[in-house]
């Protein structure tokens, strides 16, 4: 028996990016597929799904709403970027960054999203400066807590300190489950092997990952083993794909607006071999999370060199897993 909860299901259209890139799926196809799984909360990387951002042609916006309505879905989250390096010779200044995020808040409102995923490189001061507009629009800003960051990383600690000081409930988090890499993802391993990683070194890295050895040390050990460049890349991947404790979500629950249900693969047994969604969902239920689990398939980049990408099948499998874990059976 799954305890009662208010967790909703959704899909980030990022999951269908490969098919979208190759023009095998339209925006309407993406929305239709998500909705067909009962995952009606739609998250969109607007610079991927629309053109001309931020001046998206009105026909596209109208088409977006028409698709949502046709399929019984709704807009959940707009994924925002901050082009700090727009200019080659200088970074955006504070005012320009604030203007950029404000633009995204207005865009999110225009496409019906109550949540904005704020990309993790956004300085907390910029987010804080946008709180008044976010409250005015009733759009919530959630920093994407994305590996190698985690709730206890100095960068996020500082974000928490500055944003909680505002007292606003329109500023918080969009945690990306890629920070809960409990087991090394098989699709990463297999790709490194295809690229020429040394099997003996690969085994060493997998063991070190299980033993939670400091990645700096693994890198040095692997160098001593005579690692080739691919081996080193694999060792480096430990730095950027961290394991942390899903229970740390609990402290921040009131300000978690959306969850990037990142996954690299749902295998034939219906499980994500690297990210423990059973543990994660138990914590979310315990904490009374009432936002979305938004499917974010990112396996395509690890298999595209050797396999056909099938975002739809992968999303379907993850949503089946969610239904099971959420007691929707």
């Amino acid at each position: 028996m799954t305890p009662q909860h208010n967790i909703k299901r959704g899909v980030s259209l990022y999951s269908y990016q490969y098919e979208t890139f190759l023009r095998k799926m339209t925006l309407d196809d993406c929305i239709a597929h998500a909705a067909s799984l009962g995952a009606n909360g739609i998250e969109v990387v607007s610079e991927q799904s629309f053109t001309g951002f931020p001046n998206v042609p009105p026909e596209q916006i109208a088409g977006w709403f028409a698709s949502l309505e046709r399929h019984g879905a709704y807009a959940q989250c707009h994924d925002m970027f901050l082009d700090v390096k727009l200019y080659k010779d200088r970074k955006l200044n504070h005012g320009e960054m604030v203007a950029s995020l404000q633009r995204d808040l207005r865009f999110a409102k225009a496409i019906g999203c109550r949540n904005v995923r704020v990309i993790v490189n956004t300085p907390p001061e910029v987010v804080v400066a946008c709180v008044p507009l976010a409250e005015e629009l009733d759009v919530r800003m959630g920093i994407e807590v994305h590996s190698p960051f985690h709730f206890d990383h100095p960068w996020i600690l500082r974000y928490t300190e500055l944003t909680r000081a505002t007292g606003s409930n329109h500023v918080g988090y969009v945690p990306d489950m890629g920070m809960y890499i409990k087991n090394y993802p098989p699709v990463f391993r297999d790709r490194f092997l295809r690229l020429g990683a040394t099997p003996k070194v690969v085994d060493y890295i997998l063991e070190a990952h299980q033993a939670r050895v400091l990645p700096d040390y693994v890198l040095m050990d692997v160098r001593k083993m005579g690692a080739n460049p691919v081996d080193l890349q694999m060792a480096e991947s430990l730095r950027h794909n961290i394991w942390s404790n899903p229970r740390r979500l609990l402290e921040f629950m009131p300000w978690i607006f959306n969850i990037h249900a990142k996954f690299y693969e749902i295998d034939d047994s219906g499980k994500e071999p690297s990210i423990p969604y059973d543990e994660i969902i138990a914590v979310l239920i315990e904490g009374g999370y009432d936002g979305h689990l938004s499917s974010e398939y990112e396996g395509q980049r690890h298999i595209e060199d050797a396999f056909e990408v099938d975002g739809r099948e992968q999303v379907r499998r993850q949503q089946e897993m969610f239904k099971r874990l959420l007691g929707e059976a």
């Binding site: 190759l22 991927q48 799904s49 970027f81 727009l86 993790v120």
Partner: protein
């Protein structure tokens, strides 16, 4: 990512003043042109001079230096841009190996990743 899809299949061909190919952005979202630091082309191991390369989206053609100074136009996600080379006579008839390496300035990364695509193609006389 999208490495193998940068050069659009079957797009390499000669033109009135050189040759061209269709190119897609190797990234998961559209980019403001200023972020495109380079599109390095190589034919049969020989680098094409950067100043001979032209980039065209939606009917407007730019040099790569002009691309870097364009803040109000995008190379959209999955969009096939026309990348052309000023080279009198174009490519010789026969088999060629063509490489396109796209360098992007990604705001949240401290380095500018380069993604490379190499294809074999045949120019018919």
């Amino acid at each position: 990512m999208y490495d193998q899809h940068i050069i659009y299949p079957g797009s390499v061909k000669n033109t009135a003043d050189g040759w061209q190919l269709g190119a897609r952005l190797p990234y998961y979202r559209g980019q403001i042109l200023s972020a495109v630091e380079d599109i390095a082309l190589t034919v049969d191991g020989v680098k094409v001079p950067r100043e001979n390369v032209r980039f065209t989206v939606r009917g407007k053609t730019r040099t790569l230096d002009e691309v870097e100074a364009t803040y109000d136009e995008r190379w959209e996600f999955g969009e096939v841009a026309e990348v052309s080379v000023l080279q009198p006579g174009g490519l010789s008839a026969g088999a060629h190996t063509v490489t396109a390496a796209v360098q992007l300035r990604i705001s949240y990364l401290p380095w500018s990743p380069v993604t490379t695509c190499t294809i074999d193609t045949t120019i018919t006389a």
